[in-house]
Symmetry: C2
Subunit: 203 residues, 2 copies
DNA sequence: AATTTACGAAACGGGACCGTTGCGTATCGG
DNA sequence: CCGATACGCAACGGTCCCGTTTCGTAAATT
């Protein structure tokens, strides 16, 4: 029994190629980021894009959904660190992270999956919510609840509704806002309008 | 030459069945409302659902996109009448119409198309924006601009941003809000929070 | 009645993918 | 070197859908 450094026995024969594995994942993410729906993704297209035989894919994943789930799992979700000083600053930090992500491939993957594949792929949706949605939701809720506690926000604020307002606004901008990148000060403007309200200050 | 009452010459032979035409459109809308993407829609599925031969479809539309465009065109977009008294009331009326639509078939069609098929079907998207998006966008903008003019809203309000906040919030609720119907007072609560802002009133 | 067109159903050849298998080659442990 | 496993590639039979054609029937005009 040959013991590897990791303690796992190394099976005989040629080891699986990490390069191929990465290429498969990358090809999958690329196709999703380009707007290909999960239902339209074909193993053959992924294999071709990755420069890999179909066999190499089927040897690792038994079906398309498993592959997509694993591919999405590789998308790190680096939540920005929050200064924790003012609620306004933390909200801007969170919303600006959303803005920045709408421009890169990871963000496009997340957005496309969230938008279109929500139904009809329950396992995928579950994994996706767990990795991409929940962490942000939690962070946002904590900032808002802290604001209510410290008096920076109205004591009667409906935190859940506030989350919908902030997230929904950024999502709307990503999807139907101006073409190309979103303006750099977008997050700040959104937070300021939502904090201050649209009505004029009482006289 | 036989002239019909409408003034159009009636061609010889059996006339096309209006019933079949309606059934085709209905089947198409049903499938879209159920979450079927335009790319996955198949003529055969529509024909089967409509109880119609494929021939009957191809005789009327030369391709799937034309059919979907016509089907979407039958979705009336009844903008609610606006009282025009207070900006708050008009905003609630508009947002509540969005809320109500998220529950019916028409609304689900609009939402699904907007979410997933935005890219890759430019003609469809164009028609869709023209019929479903623009009228609402215009109405919302007019209410907000009137509010700025009358002083009911802050004079420095970014109207475009305000539109994104209001629309995005409702869209977010439709897509990721509580399962089932949205609460009846949702529109009112959204408008009040957005009008007043989340920060506490200045002392 | 004769003609013309539409109808639903079925079948066609063609193409895209499916998931599997066989092939010759490459890369590992022993 | 040898056995074992992975690799890319090509081919397979199968399914779904395409867009077209054919067929027998139905519904209109003349």
């Amino acid at each position: 029994m040959t013991i590897q450094g990791t303690g796992t026995a190394r099976p005989a024969g040629r080891p699986r190629s990490e390069k191929a594995e990465k290429a498969i994942i990358e090809a999958t993410l690329d196709l999703i980021a380009e707007g290909m729906g999960v239902s339209e993704l074909s193993i053959e297209a992924i294999a071709s894009r990755a420069g890999v035989g179909k066999t190499t894919i089927y040897r690792r994943w038994s079906n398309k959904e498993d592959l997509v789930v694993d591919a999405l799992a590789t998308l790190k979700a680096p939540l920005p660190p929050l200064a924790g000083v003012s609620v306004r600053d933390d909200l801007i930090t969170l919303l600006d992270a959303m803005r920045a992500e709408s421009g890169n491939r990871r963000g496009r993957c997340v957005m496309n999956i969230a938008m279109s594949e929500a139904d009809r792929h329950p396992r995928l949706l579950e994994r996706f919510v767990e990795r991409a949605v929940e962490p942000r939701r939690r962070a946002l809720r904590e900032v808002l609840e802290r604001g209510v506690a410290t008096g920076e926000l109205r004591p009667d604020l409906d935190v859940t509704l506030a989350m919908a307002i902030l997230s929904g606004t950024m999502m709307w901008q990503s999807k139907w806002g101006p073409a190309g990148d979103l303006p750099e000060d977008l997050a700040e403007r959104v937070v300021d309008v939502v904090l201050a309200g649209m009505a004029p200050p009482a006289p």
